[in-house]
């Protein structure tokens, strides 16, 4: 009997409108670049294609904001939603269970927030990309950045392993290519190949783990995996009891470890960030890291939660001990290696590895916490601040690359006197990355460490206390290399050619990201509350067993019967 799938609810397509718009706009950009912009000279072509790409991002951003508004309205006033959209769509948007496309993607406020975040960051990245000439093929380059974003949007919405794998590949394949786009430089091509080899090996490892999970659990959906693991763990507790299950989880952890550049799997990151054109590096550091961490959070805190620390032993036979070790090694190694760097982008790369370690402390805290969504919310807040701090810093790197064709730390010499405002912005961003109050980075670290310390008395708590202590020590170490940037800007005399005017394309990303870091540092509460409300739906079981809108005859039991 041929397998039959339950029918699709076509209203689901409204939910992916931002991603669909963006994917379509990538094609528009490529075609316009090939056709209409061909006759323009290089400079005019860059501007025209850049504006076109920004228009599409604006369109997708508008769609994402409208969806965000509709979804938040659904929680408060569903009646008004029905009045505005009619009964069919109104009911659809007002319903509680927010899983679309047969349970493969999540929908709702938590997804919309991150779509808005990705699109806002993408707009800044594209603006930055059009600020200087690192390539001639603008259409392809911008379209690849746009399609990578589509992958990120699906990656952080995925509720099922195969969707997760496909969107992960969509994101990273586009990023491999755009890394190698600066064809005039050897190191860009080299970075592209290194990123590709490490990235595709990690995807392959992840996929092998996925296939084992599929075989053991018989399903790839997060909530179903969680149910099955929770049912099985009474007889075979955790990783020790089950060789295949343990290797599956560890392989997936290795795969994610590569993607977020955690310590034993970080080798690609410094090379890729140094070699890639600054705007692309900014997008790898911010967008792809946010999306991978959200996916990691969903897989491990949702699907694999029953195996986190099955017994109360300190380094019990669960994956939490592994995460704790990886986190400790990552932050220590990242910070120590950053101390000796002379290249600004490479310094930022090691700093971002170290920040990956702090983020994993948040993940460990969210695992243990009785109120996991609060700890996960702290983690998401940290991610937002981290993204904006790094985006601004990479914008400065793009500026250096444009005007001095180099991105060493000593190229920053004398910037404080030369460009006081933007130098002050960079100083704020560096202080935020150290974690100095009152900038956003301070509250990010504070909330993560508070959530880690704020657990009830259990024996796993001791791991978290040690992790927090190590994190504080590392923050102190990290101050040394961030201060070197400040020292170059303010204490050294100018060396090399002067910087040209930053122009809006460079100044806007720097100013806006500094504004975000400062404003959400002074008033962190609204963003923290928003992120905590977003974290809840990400970690709780969402089920496709009871679709409200689908006809009652269709259920998973019939589809399973059909499969046999």
């Amino acid at each position: 009997m041929p397998p039959t799938a339950p029918p699709l609810d076509f209203r689901d397509f409204w939910r992916i409108a931002p991603a669909a718009t963006l994917a379509f706009w990538g094609l528009v950009v490529v075609l316009a670049d090939l056709g209409l912009a061909r006759r323009l000279d290089a400079e005019a072509r860059r501007r025209a294609v850049g504006r076109l790409a920004l228009a599409g991002v604006g369109l997708a951003l508008a769609a994402a904001v409208v969806l965000f508004w509709l979804d938040s309205l659904a929680a408060v006033d569903p009646e008004r939603l029905r009045e505005m959209l009619g009964t069919s769509l109104g009911d659809y948007f007002a319903r509680e269970d927010a899983v679309i496309f047969l349970g493969s993607l999540a929908a709702g406020v938590s997804v919309d927030i991150f779509n808005v975040l990705y699109l806002a960051l993408l707009a800044l990245v594209i603006l930055l990309a059009t600020s200087y000439r690192f390539t001639e093929d603008w259409g392809e380059c911008l379209a690849l950045l746009i399609w990578a974003t589509v992958g990120m949007m699906f990656l952080s919405a995925a509720e099922e392993l195969v969707t997760l794998f496909l969107s992960l590949e969509m994101m990273t394949i586009c990023l491999y290519l755009s890394t190698a786009f600066e064809k005039s430089r050897r190191r860009s091509v080299e970075a592209g190949l290194k990123y590709f080899i490490y990235g595709s090996v990690s995807s392959a490892l992840f996929l092998y783990g996925l296939s084992l999970v599929y075989g053991l659990a018989g399903t790839t959906r997060f909530d179903a995996i969680e149910r099955i693991l929770a049912g099985a763990s009474s007889t075979a507790p955790g990783l020790v009891g089950n060789l295949a299950g343990a290797s599956a989880l560890l392989l997936m952890l290795v795969g994610f470890g590569f993607k977020i550049a955690a310590a034993p799997f970080h080798q690609w990151a410094p090379d890729a960030y140094e070699g890639a054109p600054a705007p692309v590096a900014a997008w790898i550091v911010t967008g792809s890291k946010i999306a991978s961490i959200i996916a990691l959070m969903k897989v491990f805190l949702h699907a694999a939660r029953p195996w986190s620390f099955p017994s109360d032993d300190i380094m019990g036979p669960g994956w939490m001990g592994v995460i704790a070790i990886v986190s400790a090694v990552t932050m220590t190694y990242g910070n120590l290696a950053a101390l000796v760097q002379t290249n600004f982008k490479r310094l930022l790369a090691y700093s971002s590895i170290a920040h990956g370690g702090y983020i994993l402390v948040g993940l460990a805290a969210a695992t243990v916490s009785v109120n996991g969504s609060a700890a996960a919310g702290a983690l998401l807040y940290y991610l937002v601040i981290y993204a904006f701090s790094n985006l601004g810093a990479f914008a400065v790197a793009a500026w250096l690359a444009r005007d001095r064709s180099a991105d060493e730390i000593e190229d920053l010499n004398g910037m404080g006197a030369e460009r006081p405002l933007l130098a002050l912005c960079l100083a704020f961003l560096m202080l935020s990355l150290i974690g100095v109050p009152p900038f956003g980075g301070f509250f990010g670290k504070l909330y993560i460490f508070m959530e880690a310390l704020n657990q009830g008395p259990s024996r796993t708590r001791i791991i978290l206390v040690w992790l927090v202590a190590l994190g504080l020590l590392n923050s102190a170490i990290s101050a040394f290399y961030y201060v070197r940037v400040l020292k170059a800007m303010y204490l050294r005399p100018r060396s090399g050619t002067g910087l040209k005017s930053a122009e809006p394309a460079v100044a806007a990303p720097i100013l806006l990201s500094t504004a975000v870091v400062v404003i959400f540092g002074l008033f962190p509460q609204p963003l923290v509350d928003l992120m905590k409300s977003a974290a809840g739906p990400m970690l709780t079981a969402s089920s496709f067993d009871a679709p409200v809108a689908a006809p009652p005859a269709v259920s998973t039991t019939t589809s399973n019967a059909a499969l046999e």
Partner: protein
């Protein structure tokens, strides 16, 4: 189904291919050989997926995606990856005139 090859054999075969691929990735120097080793790992996962689909009973609430369809998706992704990989290797080869991954060492530290 009683006379079939047992599921374990498929799993051992897949695990062996996985190990061969992983060793290949780590030991081979030629970029094309590394690419081939990555393909072997991906195909080991494919063998797993199809074998589990054939033998395993689907769990309740498993959703509509059976293993064979996953395998087809994986093949598609692998094809895209090879296309990108060959393109990048070609770019590197044009600059260095070698396909040896150890020689691409402009950046380090």
């Amino acid at each position: 189904m009683n006379n079939d090859i047992p599921l374990n054999w498929f799993l051992y075969f897949a695990a062996a291919s996985f190990a061969i691929g992983l060793v290949g990735v780590m030991l081979r120097r030629n970029a094309i050989a590394v690419l081939m080793a990555i393909e072997i790992i991906l195909n080991a996962a494919n063998v797993n997926l199809v074998a589990f689909w054939r033998y395993g009973p689907p769990a309740p609430g498993s959703g509509p995606l059976p293993g064979v369809i996953l395998a087809i998706l994986v093949i598609t992704v692998a094809a895209a990856e090879v296309a990108v990989g060959i393109g990048l290797i070609l770019l590197c080869y044009r600059r260095w005139r070698v396909a040896d991954v150890d020689r691409y060492d402009t950046m380090s530290g």
